[in-house]
């Protein structure tokens, strides 16, 4: 994780005028604020087939013919997918990787930002590229992607057997598997999908299908003994290393651990299971009955349910605070520990829990204006754009990144200024 303690938590307000950018460039695409809030950047068009990135008013040294997927790495480096002369690569702070490819996409970052990976295609063959270095092995197709928590390993679902158009029975013999750092598992499956690395990065689990009907979870290439009617993406227990996945059995969903049913309860749906860092609390989004949604904690659903959607489940490291978004028709709500906030929104972003587990902050939108809500108290400033709030390491302050009246603002406020 990035050390946020050395960020500027004292200066109350810093600004970057953005309106002049509109006069300087043909057009300015949507802005992205850096994690520490010190910089704001956007892809800008300078001329026909000439794009650049503008950071706090300054462009990168060299333009590119195409630029997309501008994203900040967690450590504050700015990345984009860039193309010149029909070749693609990743530019980091304006400097393109030496290796070029026919196409690159799906940027991944390690939590500390040190490792940057993309999927790449060259001559119709696919691999992952980590910090500019491609896997030694390439594959004829590659779908799902994952990076280990420390960023040292990457994985992808890969095609390892050839099959032609309409060769359905060959396909059903199993032509796909998972490759870790380019090394494919020996076992082949009809399908493999979402993957998860263990906390130490030594193990990898993936959803898979033996045939058209029998689903399971494969860990380091070995499927569980048990099969199910369907499965969703697995996670590792952060302490014991066991693997937990939603499984469908008897037409209902529940959670299984290492192939054995874990939760007694059965649901219309169960997914997005999430552990607290200590592994003591396991929560998942569930549908306790048709058309109703909530969160179940250690198997017990909250009493409050919602009609349309529950999403963006987050859990504090100690498990004491569990937050999610809920939607009723077109209204978004924030739900914390089973109680919905009184304020409602037209859109909401993933909740952020403070390091001391006491505050929940959420970027929200209402009537096209953006702001931030902490503990159900709405910050009254209406903004043209906003990013997720970031709590200081001591949880006393909050970093707010916004665009107001054509100007980017970085603010540090005491949390109590919003919560009262």
């Amino acid at each position: 994780m990035v050390d946020q303690s050395n960020w500027d938590w004292e200066t109350r307000e810093k600004t970057v005028p953005m309106d002049p950018w509109k006069d300087k460039f043909n057009w300015v695409e949507e802005p992205y604020a850096s994690p520490d809030g010190e910089h704001v950047a956007a892809v800008v068009n300078q001329d026909e087939e000439e794009f650049n990135v503008c950071v706090n008013g300054e462009t990168w040294e060299n333009p590119f013919e195409k630029i997309w997927y501008l994203r900040w790495a967690p450590d504050g480096r700015l990345t984009a997918l860039v193309s010149d002369m029909a070749e693609w690569t990743v530019a980091v702070d304006g400097v393109p990787w030496e290796n070029k490819f026919a196409y690159v996409w799906n940027t991944l970052f390690s939590p500390d930002g040190k490792n940057i990976a993309v999927a790449a295609q060259n001559d119709g063959m696919y691999c992952m590229v980590v910090n500019g270095k491609p896997w030694e092995t390439t594959f004829q197709n590659m779908t799902y992607f994952a990076m280990s928590p420390d960023g040292s390993k990457t994985a992808a679902v890969v095609q390892v057997e050839d099959f032609g158009e309409g060769e359905i029975h060959k396909f059903q013999e199993g032509c796909f598997t998972v490759a870790v750092d380019g090394q494919a598992w020996e076992n082949k499956f009809v399908n493999a999908w979402n993957m998860a690395f263990s906390a130490d990065g030594t193990k990898l689990a993936a959803e898979m299908r033996h045939n058209l009907y029998d689903y399971s979870i494969a860990v380091d290439g070995r499927p569980w003994d048990k099969v199910f009617q369907c499965v969703w993406e697995p996670v590792f227990h952060p302490v014991t290393g066991s693997v937990i996945a939603p499984v469908r059995t008897g037409g209902k969903w529940t959670l299984a651990q290492d192939g054995e049913i874990l939760w007694e309860g059965r649901f219309l749906q169960a997914w997005h299971q999430t552990f607290s860092a200590d592994g003591e609390t396991l929560a998942a989004i569930v549908s306790p009955r048709y058309g109703r949604w909530t969160v179940a904690v250690n198997g017990r659903p909250w009493s409050v349910t919602f009609s349309t959607l529950v999403s963006d489940l987050v859990i504090s490291p100690d498990g004491s605070t569990i937050a999610a978004l809920a939607k009723e028709d077109q209204t978004w709500k924030v739900v914390v520990n089973g109680a919905a906030w009184s304020n409602t929104f037209h859109m909401a972003w993933k909740p952020v829990i403070s390091p001391n587990n006491r505050h929940v902050g959420v970027k929200v939108e209402k009537q096209g204006k953006y702001t931030v809500v902490i503990n159900d108290r709405v910050w009254p400033q209406e903004c043209e754009a906003a990013w997720d709030p970031v709590f200081s390491p001591d949880s006393e302050k909050v970093l707010l990144r916004t665009v107001e009246n054509g100007q980017y603002l970085r603010r540090i406020l005491p949390v109590t200024e919003i919560t009262g």
Binding site: N26, W27, E29, E30, N45, E48, E49, K66, W68, Y69, A102, Y103, V104, W105, N106, A119, Q121, Y126, N141, M142, T143, Q159, E165, G166, I168, H169, F171, Q172, F176, V190, N191, W193, R209, L212, Y213, Y215, Q229, C230, R248, G250, G251, L268, Q269, W271, S287, Y290, G291, W293, S307, T308, L309, S311, K327, Q330, H346, M347, W349, E365
Partner: protein, 451 residues
């Protein structure tokens, strides 16, 4: 209902149309009667309930559904092509025999379920009890899927969905690359046009079906042009889930259907869009608005789905698309089953047609009673082996179009991809000499563009 007599001519015709489908035949060769019995009873006992029981127990075999069916009407009212006849030849027999049917029976059952019913639900409009025969035929497809006897072409498409989450094996790089290519092309005409990829917080996520990037990329160009002119805050995803189509829904592979739909909706949720606007596709609408979402437990779409008809209606009503002059050729409007009977967009479709075109000639019957294109429900996706049967089974549609043509219509507007392809085959086979267009084709042609 008595078994229909088969004439020598019909036998000859059946021989001509005999198809050997590897997907079916290899599957059949692996079947045992015990396996068939086990699968049928597993599906009937654990995957159906009151709905199936009610339908089966309520039907009085009155045959009022028969004349609703284009297959029946196009085959001189031969009862074996009637909706109730198709249920009788498949599901009822399975129930009556408690699953003890032969591989040969299953060969015919899958042929009926996958290639002789479009699940268009026109028969539902005429059933005095509201029995949804499409649901019953879908259960036959589910059984056939579990027995591994689905026709080859559509099974291959379901495989594509399972790997790529799109129906045409479009790879991860090919999708954004195609969007960027179309964006570049469109900038020749609209210099500042963007196809905004992965723009979080946009009002709308625009989703399409995989044939668009695969071989109809001009439709993406046109959609981008319309968004540009109308000033829409939109985005297109770069990630899997961009394809709203779903042939797994039509093969009975509900688990892949659910996976594909979950990917689609969670993609829209991740992008924090208010709505998903989809292109002019009917079956995809059924999948995201009705079938797929419900299998996942969402009683209605978690992110609202707006079909292109509805979206164009909204833009035109709000005068957001300036029109140079109306489309001059007389048009007739085909009502696709999934968005009209399934989504109730018949009057909005007419509003759009009249707003865009000088002359709209109604085809008869129309709206929820319109005849099916005979391509939907996955039938066209069973591939070329069944094309002749498909076009011969929709003579009644050709007659309906001929009538509209006789009253002046020169162009068919079909706001559905499957209908589009099906009607094209009909017009070619029956020498109709009519053009077929999407609403988007016409809007792009007549809207004001920068000089």
């Amino acid at each position: 209902m008595a078994e229909p007599a088969v004439t020598q001519d019909e036998k000859k015709e059946e021989e001509e149309q005999k198809v050997v489908d590897e997907g079916i035949e290899v599957g059949i060769s692996r079947l045992t009667e015990a396996r068939i019995e086990q699968v049928i009873n597993q599906v009937l006992n654990t995957e159906t309930g009151a709905r199936l029981k009610t339908y089966v127990n309520t039907c009085i075999h009155c045959g009022l559904c028969s004349e609703a069916c284009h297959y029946y009407m196009s085959h001189d009212k031969d009862p074996k092509w009637s909706p109730v006849g198709k249920v009788k030849q498949t599901l009822w027999e399975m129930i009556r025999k408690k699953g003890r049917v032969s591989p040969d029976f299953m060969r015919r059952a899958v042929e009926i379920a996958q290639t002789e019913c479009n699940l268009c639900r026109r028969c539902l409009q005429f059933c005095p009890f509201g029995i949804d025969i499409a649901y019953l035929i879908s259960m036959v497809r589910r059984i056939c899927h579990k027995l591994g006897i689905t026709p080859l072409y559509i099974q291959d498409t379901a495989h594509s969905h399972s790997v790529t989450m799109n129906q045409m094996w479009v790879k991860g790089d090919e999708w954004p690359d195609t969007l960027q290519w179309q964006e570049e092309e469109a900038r020749g005409e609209f210099p500042t046009l963007r196809i905004p990829l992965e723009k979080e917080g946009a009002d709308i996520m625009y989703s399409v079906i995989a044939p668009e990037p695969k071989f109809q990329a001009q439709l993406i160009y046109q959609a981008a042009a319309i968004m540009e002119v109308a000033g829409v805050d939109w985005t297109m995803p770069a990630d899997m889930g961009w394809d709203n189509s779903d042939m797994a829904m039509f093969t009975g592979d509900n688990e892949i259907m659910g996976r594909v739909k979950r990917t689609h909706f969670e993609l829209a949720a991740r992008l924090r869009v208010k709505r998903i606007v989809m292109g002019e596709c009917g079956h995809a609408f059924r999948s995201v608005y009705d079938t797929g979402n419900r299998w996942l437990g969402w009683s209605h779409p978690p992110i609202p789905i707006v079909h292109a008809i509805d979206f164009y209606w909204e833009l035109l009503k709000d005068n957001r698309i300036p029109i140079k002059e109306k489309y001059p050729e007389p048009v007739t409007l085909h009502d696709p089953c999934n968005v009209i009977r399934g989504g109730g967009l018949m009057e909005k479709a007419r509003y759009v047609a009249h707003a865009l075109c000088e002359t709209v000639v109604e085809m008869h019957p129309n709206r929820e009673y319109n005849y099916c294109c005979c391509a939907g429900g996955g039938v066209i996706n069973c591939g070329p082996p069944y094309k002749l049967k498909r076009v011969k089974s929709n003579r009644v549609k050709a007659e309906q179009l001929m009538d509209a043509k006789a009253r002046g219509a020169k162009v068919i507007i079909s706001p559905c991809h499957n209908c589009h392809s099906g009607l094209k085959d009909i017009k070619n086979y029956y020498d109709l000499h009519m053009d077929i267009k999407f609403f988007g084709d016409i809007i792009y042609q007549i809207m004001e563009k920068p000089e």
